[in-house]
């Protein structure tokens, strides 16, 4: 090559500098310009042919086998259709599923938590519109409202869980307890009775804010001045320093002697272990952990109960339920037809029953046959006055964590006033941001 094509170091720097400048300009494209956000939602009709591989994104690793069984029969009935389960731990799913599904890598069929995640996923245009499709008719209408927004049915909450303490009926019988306590004094008295037979009254995973928060639902349900208390905390209308919230924190203080030792350092697995081994009478999480404690070897009969924090005549609710695992078809999926077909398949009574009995979960699908002993034993809760879990009214996760952390703090020894002020400071900062 002749010398005139040679390039000095300075020349090369100019070339690279120019390239870098171009890259910088390219980098300044507006955020969100990747599209998707404001596109009109697709309808979930899925008119194409059923076949090919789709991804089912969810967080229930414990349901993987049962779902695999259902998927296998789905694939057998729909020749050429295969389904890959993309499973993340629930907290990771809460944090990053929206971005992953939006990227198109996973989630032709996907789920969302009720509350903030569902709202964000609808805003991001991820859900295809299911309104008017046949599949919606397979569900109990009053239980799928959490999957609708502004009159459009975007998702179908599949699971009906009870976010309230699960009880070991053998231990309760040994302690002479046959009925759930009707009021707060009764609850404390029950805990004393359990202590008297050398058992731990309550196994509480206070080391994990996500699982510790299930108790928050029960403690708030009858104490709060209105049913939308968490939404009002988030809007600034209610404060953690209000009397009703402080009263709830005082009640957490009263519960201190009845948790296992070092409760604020306990993760959910050891709490499940205490309960499944029969050392603890109550597991303070919810019905969604019954299958896990059975897997750990628990053979005793289980029930459910919730702390009534007021007198019996003031109690409005006796427990907490949540309609979650909001199934939806990805509006951007290349294979919507297959995703829709799987959604319909999961919603058929036969397959929904397989899922329910295999995972020990109640479902929102109508006419499910509950053959699982634990589901049958707790089926009476479907007709009780339970409140839709209030903690999912929080759309700001930092505000939710601040409010729930205050409860953990008081169990750890902080005074209710100090814990409430600390939480309210964080909430105020975010409300005013």
């Amino acid at each position: 090559m002749s010398e005139k094509f040679n390039l000095s170091r300075r020349g090369a720097l100019h070339v690279f500098g120019g390239g870098g400048l171009l890259a910088a300009v390219a980098a300044c494209a507006g955020p969100g310009s990747g599209g998707g956000g404001d596109e009109p939602p697709d309808t979930g009709g899925g008119d194409g042919e059923i076949g090919g591989e789709i991804s089912f994104a969810h967080w229930r690793a414990e349901d993987q086998e049962v779902l695999a069984e259902i998927i296998e029969s789905f694939s057998a009935e729909n020749d050429g259709a295969t389904v890959r389960q993309d499973i993340s731990p629930s907290n990771d799913y809460q944090s990053s599923a929206l971005q992953q599904i939006r990227s198109g890598n996973i989630g032709d069929l996907f789920v969302a938590f009720r509350g903030a995640q569902f709202v964000d996923m609808v805003s991001a245009g991820l859900y295809a519109d299911l309104s008017g499709t046949d599949v919606v008719g397979k569900y109990n209408p009053s239980l799928i409202e959490a999957g609708a927004q502004d009159g459009t049915q975007y998702g179908l909450p599949y699971q009906l869980v009870f976010n309230q303490p699960v009880s070991n009926l053998d231990v309760l019988e040994e302690a002479g307890i046959s009925e759930p306590p009707p009021d707060w004094d009764g609850w404390l008295s029950m805990c004393e009775d359990i202590l008297s037979i050398d058992k731990i009254p309550m196994a509480w995973p206070g080391g994990e804010i996500g699982n510790a928060g299930h108790l928050f639902n029960c403690m708030m349900m009858n104490n709060a001045p209105s049913d939308d208390m968490c939404a009002k905390i988030e809007s600034g209308e209610y404060k953690c320093t209000d009397d009703w919230f402080l009263h709830t924190l005082d009640q957490y203080v009263e519960l201190r002697p009845y948790f296992q030792n070092n409760a604020t350092g306990t993760a959910v697995e050891p709490a499940q272990q205490m309960f499944s081994s029969g050392d603890a009478a109550l597991l303070l999480t919810g019905s969604f952990h019954i299958a896990a404690v059975r897997a750990l070897g628990a053979e005793f009969p289980v029930g459910m109960m919730a702390p009534i924090t007021v007198s019996a005549d003031e109690a409005k609710y006796v427990g907490i339920h949540n309609a979650t695992f909001v199934l939806g078809v990805n509006s951007a999926s290349d294979n919507q037809a297959t995703a829709m077909a799987l959604l319909e398949y999961l919603s058929e009574t036969e397959h929904a029953s397989t899922y329910a009995n295999g995972t020990a979960q109640h479902l929102t699908v109508a006419e499910v046959n509950y053959e699982n002993e634990d589901l049958a034993a707790t089926a009476d809760w479907l007709d009780k006055d339970t409140m839709l879990a209030p903690r999912f009214q929080f759309n700001d996760l930092d505000i939710r964590n601040a409010a729930e952390q205050s409860c953990i703090d008081v169990v750890g020894g902080t005074s209710p006033e100090q814990a409430a002020e600390r939480a309210q400071q964080i909430i105020d900062e975010r409300v005013n941001a």
Binding site: M1, E3, N6, L7, S8, R9, A12, V15, F16, G19, G20, A23, A24, A27, C28, G30, P31, G32, S33, G35, G36, G37, D38, P89, N91, D92, Q94, S95, S96, L98, Q99, R102, D120, S123, A124, G206, G207, E208, I209, G210, Q260, N261, N262, A263, T264, G265, T266, A267, P270, L397, D398, N401, Q405, I408, D409, G412, Q425, I426, E429, N432
Partner: protein, 320 residues
């Protein structure tokens, strides 16, 4: 042998003895590089631009917006995010405080432990090689595995820590470990030290083996004891290795993200929240613009700390 004086004379010969600034050597054809050679740097440059330069520039741009991470539209908020972060974000301040506590413990104890191990294992004997392998072993484990191992140790009810203490009659020392808000971050720091001390030990061993034996022999002849040899020879000669260890450990301690999430859950409690987990929580809370602001402050903070550390290290090793 030429001296500086003779060199000056030589260069000033043609200007009546007046010292002349050495002429800049003209770049001849030999200094030109064939353009094709620059092309070999292109793959690396392209990767660097795509995966580092562009995301960094985008982060700067996002930091001036209230983008939620998925909407097509957003508002420009100017320096509003920086103002909020520096004047009214208790959670960020808490994470920063936790991170500084974590960093101090990890940098001090990991460096000292790695240096001690390196001094004892510097000789290439079979025993040393075996022990080096054992101490290095935790480094090859995934951080999630390490988190689960220590989650088992720290569990206050079934964990190895309290069980061992109870077995030897030290019940009074049992703890709730990560459940104790005051101490939780230090327990994670201990995990981090266990995790990475072996890795840093290898760097120190390389540094120690590069120190010429003659220096120690000369020091011995001069009557220097072991401590004097360490302070006058080993420590100053280890300056480059120490700088690498301290800088790397500092950066690691700011990025102990997976260890914290593995031990403390997602999101971690406020007592375990550090800057990287706070940024992640902010992203998860659909505040991409604000999280980008936090990321920029995070980056500047690490850079500032590393610069200060390097200067301090130079000073101590000059004094030595």
């Amino acid at each position: 042998m030429s001296t500086p004086a003779s060199a000056t004379t030589a260069t000033g010969a043609g200007t009546g003895g007046r010292p002349e600034r050495p002429r800049r050597r003209r770049r001849g054809p030999s200094s030109r590089v064939h353009p094709l050679l620059y092309a070999f740097t292109l793959p690396a440059l392209i990767i660097y631009v795509i995966f580092f330069v562009i995301p960094t520039l985008q982060a700067v741009q996002y930091s001036a917006t209230d983008w939620d991470g998925f909407s097509a539209d957003y508002e420009n908020v100017g320096i509003g995010n920086f103002d909020r972060l520096l004047t009214g974000d208790t959670l960020f301040l808490n994470a920063l405080t936790n991170n500084l506590k974590f960093m101090v413990v990890v940098v001090v104890f990991q460096t000292i432990l790695a240096l001690i191990l390196a001094i004892f294992l510097v000789r290439n004997t079979r025993g040393s090689t075996l022990l080096r392998g054992l101490f290095f072993f935790p480094t090859i484990l995934s951080s999630v595995s390490v988190a689960y191992i220590f989650k088992f140790i720290y569990d206050p009810n079934f964990g190895l820590g309290n069980r061992v203490l109870e077995a030897v009659g030290l019940d009074a020392l049992t703890s709730s470990y990560l459940g104790n808000d005051e101490a939780a971050i230090y327990w994670v720091a201990i995990t981090q030290v266990w995790f990475h001390a072996g890795q840093m030990m290898v760097i120190f061993i390389a540094g120690l083996q590069a120190v010429p034996r003659e220096l120690y022999e000369a020091a011995e002849i001069d009557g220097a004891g072991r401590w004097k040899q360490f302070t006058a020879i080993t420590w100053p000669m280890l300056a480059p290795a120490t700088a690498i260890v301290v800088a790397y450990t500092t950066i690691q301690s700011f990025k102990a993200f997976d260890l914290i999430l593995g031990l403390g859950g997602n999101p971690p409690k406020t007592s375990l929240d550090i800057l990287s987990t706070r940024i992640y929580s902010t992203f998860a809370n659909s505040e991409f613009g604000y999280a980008a602001t936090q990321s920029i402050i995070f980056m500047l903070f690490i850079a500032a700390i590393v610069v200060v550390q390097r200067r301090m290290l130079k000073l101590t090793q000059k004094e030595a």
